[in-house]
């Protein structure tokens, strides 16, 4: 009993420290950084790791205009998660009155000390169920995030920052998500005479997919016309 009491006494300084982290303050600092971005345009190279989809890399142009205009243009097919984390993360955090932010510890992500903040909606925020953010509290950047929605499950992102960290704009985003097994309609596969390859996932369990986006040539706050979001 004495030992438990001692252990509890030892933990008191840490409890005090955890309470000293104000998650909303950290989020506000990030929002403040991003609010400096009225619009941006950048080149993006996309790499795909989607189960049962063999697709080569593609280059695209990404356009953003505050508050919520977003477009990716490419000469070819590309896949993005249904809930686009590039748009979702900042939109989710924008209005701090919409959610409860809860500090839930610290973690080391890719060599960066981060605080973990959970976001729980208190007002309707689309189909958001939970948001979890790993925030570099020194540089005020979101290093990692997990956004869980009712319809599209959980989409995780890992961000790497470079010269545009002052605007909270990443140089690389790696999107990870669990996807349903892709079923090919037999009528269209028409694999006549082909020996069927062994199914690596016979139980139709969810498989993990990833999409990596490398951003270069950011052009920030150079006034992008609205029509650029409607034309291909």
């Amino acid at each position: 009993m004495k030992n438990y009491f001692l252990l509890l006494l030892c933990c008191i300084p840490f409890i005090g420290k955890s309470q000293s982290v104000d998650p909303k303050k950290s989020i506000n600092k990030i929002n403040e950084k991003f609010s400096k971005v009225a619009d941006y345009k950048a080149d993006v190279a996309m790499q795909f790791g989607i189960p049962n989809v063999k697709i080569s890399n593609i280059n695209a142009t990404v356009l953003y205009k505050n508050p919520n205009k977003f477009k990716m243009k490419a000469k070819g097919l590309f896949f993005l998660p249904k809930q686009n984390p590039m748009q979702n993360v900042m939109n989710t955090l924008k209005d701090t009155a919409n959610y409860q932010a809860i500090y839930s510890g610290k973690a080391l992500v890719n060599g960066t000390n981060c605080i973990i903040v959970n976001i729980i909606p208190i007002k309707p925020m689309g189909d958001l169920v939970l948001g979890k953010f790993w925030i570099d509290d020194v540089k005020n950047l979101i290093v990692k995030s997990e956004i869980t929605t009712k319809n599209n499950g959980t989409v995780a992102t890992e961000n790497k920052f470079g010269a545009n960290a002052i605007y909270a704009l990443p140089d690389e985003i790696k999107i990870n998500m669990d996807v349903n097994k892709f079923k090919i309609p037999k009528m269209l596969a028409l694999d006549i005479n082909k020996k069927k390859k062994l199914d690596a996932n016979p139980n139709n369990k969810k498989e993990s997919a990833s999409i990596t986006l490398h951003f270069t040539n950011y052009i920030i706050n150079q006034k992008i016309e609205d029509r650029e979001f409607t034309t291909d």
């Binding site: 989809v53 063999k54 070819g76 097919l77 590309f78 694999d191 069927k196």
Partner: protein, 282 residues
């Protein structure tokens, strides 16, 4: 050589004077245009059905109903039909003459039987090439006027493989090359049978029956038939599809091309040997 040239011209005129030679071109035109019309009308619905499972998790950006996709589908749908169209000419080229009695007069010419057989084979292969070029024009060129250019999304049993638009033209060129080898095999097979037969119907029926039987056996996923698949030429005839796999299984494609080439030599040799020995009674 001049004699052989004359023989070639003679065979060319005989083949292209027959109305039945153009049946294949008309049939192919109707088939391809019907498919293009169908996809122009209902293509978006079909694509939805195709990507339904993917769209549960992803938003797919870009046009999927492209001219390259339509060309690929047309080629895929015509796997079974093309051999029939090719056989209409090559299956008739010797037996047709045997049936009408003109073969006897042909063999009275100073050219050797080998030269005559070779000239007929060249004309049959030329007809096959023309048919493929016509298919290429209809499928690839006409589709480009109807559908937008873009990436090709091809379905295989292990998933979808996407070929970028910039790579498609060269891949289609290669695909048509392999298809020529495949149809050349059918041409040689039909001509070999034509050397054996005394009427035109038998070679056509035998070729089509063989293609249908091999294709049906090939679609069975029963282990008992697995060992047979490498020995059936239909297994190798559709290897052009593998060009659209990512990465391209080059060794499989080369092996299949060699198998098809070996078949062509085998069928040609058997046909020629029999034609040289054949007792012409009609």
């Amino acid at each position: 050589m001049n004699n052989f040239g004359g023989l070639l011209i003679n065979e060319f005129i005989k083949t292209f004077k027959k109305p039945r030679t153009f049946i294949s071109f008309i049939a192919l035109t109707i088939l391809v245009l019907a498919l293009q019309y169908g996809f122009y009308h209902d293509g978006k619905e079909i694509m939805k059905f195709f990507t339904q499972s993917l769209e549960e998790d992803f938003s797919i950006n870009g046009n999927m109903l492209t001219s390259n996709f339509i060309t690929y589908l047309i080629l895929q749908f015509l796997i079974v039909q093309m051999p029939l169209l090719v056989t209409l000419v090559s299956g008739d080229i010797i037996s047709g003459e045997a049936q009408t009695g003109s073969l006897r007069y042909l063999l009275l010419r100073p050219q050797t039987r080998t030269q005559i057989y070779f000239a007929k084979w060249i004309i049959s292969m030329f007809y096959t090439l023309l048919l493929l070029i016509w298919l290429g024009i209809l499928a690839l060129v006409v589709s480009k006027f109807i559908f937008p250019n873009g990436d090709l999304i091809a379905a295989f049993s292990d998933g979808v493989h996407i070929t970028r638009a910039a790579d498609c033209n060269f891949k289609f060129l290669e695909a048509f090359g392999i298809a020529f080898l495949a149809l050349g095999l059918i041409t040689s097979f039909a001509m070999m049978l034509s050397a054996f037969a005394e009427n035109s119907i038998s070679p056509i029926i035998i070729v089509m029956s063989t293609v249908i039987i091999f294709t049906v056996i090939g679609t069975f996923e029963l282990p008992v038939f697995e060992f047979l698949k490498p020995f059936m030429f239909t297994t190798h005839m559709i290897v052009w599809r593998d060009l659209f796999e990512n990465p391209v299984p080059a060794s499989e494609i080369i092996t299949s091309c060699m198998v098809m080439f070996a078949h062509i030599i085998l069928f040609f040799s058997i046909g020629l040997f029999h034609f040289n020995k054949k007792d012409i009674t009609c």
